[in-house]
């Protein structure tokens, strides 16, 4: 239905982006047109189960989140490296299996190291 292998089929993707991004403003506008707004001071309060918020919400974060972000960056990049590999798999034979085993072993060793160093423990 769509032309194959040309840049044209990326227009389909563009259309998906447009539709996806238009849907939200359209429904919100519909809601604004349909609903009636009754402004009230109390309504605009930050929702914290009825109690007054204490201090600003944007505070210093625990370092644990940062460690996981770092772990993610390392492992996700390694995972992405595996993708072209998996695609070229059939053309390269036994050599690639050995290569892959070594690569996955390195990945596993990295995980084991992070594990032993306590990076996986939530602190």
């Amino acid at each position: 239905m769509t032309p194959q292998g040309s840049g044209m089929d990326h227009l389909v993707l563009l259309a998906f982006v447009i539709i996806g991004c238009l849907f939200v403003p359209l429904t919100v506008t519909a809601s604004h047109l349909l609903g009636r707004a009754k402004r009230d001071e109390r309504k605009l309060d930050t929702y914290e189960c009825g109690s007054e918020p204490v201090g600003p919400p944007w505070v210093q974060l625990r370092v644990g989140y940062y460690v996981y972000a770092l772990l993610f960056v390392v492992f996700d990049i390694e995972t992405v490296f595996l993708y072209p590999w998996a695609v070229a798999f059939n053309r390269l034979g036994v050599f690639i299996v050995v290569e892959m085993t070594i690569f996955i072993a390195i990945l596993g060793a990295g995980l084991a190291y992070a594990w032993r160093e306590g990076a996986l423990r939530w602190r």
């Binding site: 239905m1 769509t2 032309p3 194959q4 044209m8 089929d9 227009l11 389909v12 993707l13 563009l14 259309a15 998906f16 447009i18 539709i19 996806g20 991004c21 849907f23 939200v24 403003p25 429904t27 919100v28 519909a30 809601s31 349909l34 609903g35 009636r36 707004a37 009754k38 605009l44 309060d45 930050t46 929702y47 914290e48 918020p53 600003p56 919400p57 644990g64 989140y65 996981y68 972000a69 772990l71 993610f72 492992f75 996700d76 995972t79 992405v80 595996l82 993708y83 998996a86 695609v87 798999f89 059939n90 034979g93 690639i96 299996v97 085993t101 996955i104 594990w115 996986l120 939530w122």
Partner: protein, 315 residues
């Protein structure tokens, strides 16, 4: 011409998500009812099936509140970054033989990459709300979603190794029935990490209603809240369709039009299992969640990949 088709399919995808969310919420309430030995909605329409039809106008008529202290533009547009990726990820799902709306040569990678954009939307909404609950929920969501990204990508890789291509329609063409038992562990990893990606129970600690109210969307109301809901159900629908295609052969299960029906049936079964899991297991703790991802799922996914690779090379 292709832009026109794209607009048509894009519209169909958004309708699928909106309609799927309506049916999904009803179905989830029914499943939850059965799990808890009650009936669930049953008053409006047969078996309560019109309940959500009644709920949509209610959400549309609700007031749209931007709380004091919130970063207004960010607060208003963050839901968009949660919803749009879910709609976009439907573009690469291989619905029929040789056909996906956007038949990309890197479709599988696209499917894994695009839904992750929603983590940015979640972080933005959490930060923009100027709410302690939201800030905590957003941080938890970010840590959880990026962590579970790793086993999720690794699990799909085992199918890619067998198929030797990233184009979803080619994967479907290459698919054979014995891949189901071979990649079943991979499917389990995919399912579990997808549940965590969607912040659904038992991995819903970013939303944890008993401690964080609703987490990153605690301050959202009315239709904007519904957009978050639709984003979540859209991700669930896209994931189930993708899982049904890659791990269960999708339309290859039955010939002709029956194939599409078979794919939808398998996807619905996956959705039901996800809901069943949510209402059966208690919520995990943050440390248990992270430990499960890195110490169980990632090694298991690596072993599954190795097994699939050895089998693919041996053939």
């Amino acid at each position: 011409m292709s832009l026109l088709w794209g607009l048509l399919w894009g519209l169909a995808a958004v309708m699928l998500i909106a309609g799927g969310a309506i049916i999904g919420v009803w179905w989830e309430r029914k499943v939850a009812g059965r799990v808890q030995m009650r009936y669930g909605p049953q008053q409006i329409g047969p078996a309560g099936s019109l309940q959500m039809i009644a709920d949509v106008p209610k959400l549309l008529f609700k007031e749209d509140i931007v709380p004091e202290g919130a970063d207004e533009p960010l607060f208003r547009y963050a839901p968009l970054a949660v919803f749009a990726p879910a709609a976009m990820s439907l573009a690469v799902v291989p619905f029929a033989a040789g056909w996906a709306p956007f038949d990309s040569t890197v479709g599988a990678l696209f499917f894994l990459a695009v839904p992750s954009i929603s983590v940015i939307g979640i972080l933005l909404s959490a930060w923009a709300s100027h709410n302690t609950f939201a800030a905590l929920g957003g941080l938890r969501a970010a840590a959880q979603m990026v962590s579970y990204e790793v086993p999720r990508s690794l699990s799909v890789l085992s199918v890619i190794v067998l198929a030797g291509t990233l184009r979803p329609t080619d994967v479907m063409a290459a698919w054979e029935w014995w891949w189901i038992p071979l990649t079943f562990v991979g499917f389990l990893v995919f399912l579990i990490s997808s549940i965590a990606e969607m912040n659904r129970g038992p991995f819903d600690i970013p939303e944890a209603e008993s401690e964080l109210v609703a987490g990153y969307f605690a301050d959202y109301s009315g239709i904007r809240w519904a957009v978050f809901m639709m984003g979540e159900y859209g991700a669930l629908i896209a994931t189930s369709l993708f899982g049904a295609a890659f791990f269960f052969g999708g339309h290859r299960l039955l010939p002709g039009v029956g194939g599409i029906v078979a794919m939808v049936v398998v996807a619905c079964a996956i959705i039901t299992v996800v809901m069943w899991v949510k209402w059966t297991f208690p919520r995990l703790r943050a440390d248990q969640l992270m430990a499960f991802c890195w110490k169980v799922l990632t090694p298991v996914a690596l072993v599954q990949l190795l097994v699939a690779g050895v089998v693919a090379a041996w053939l």
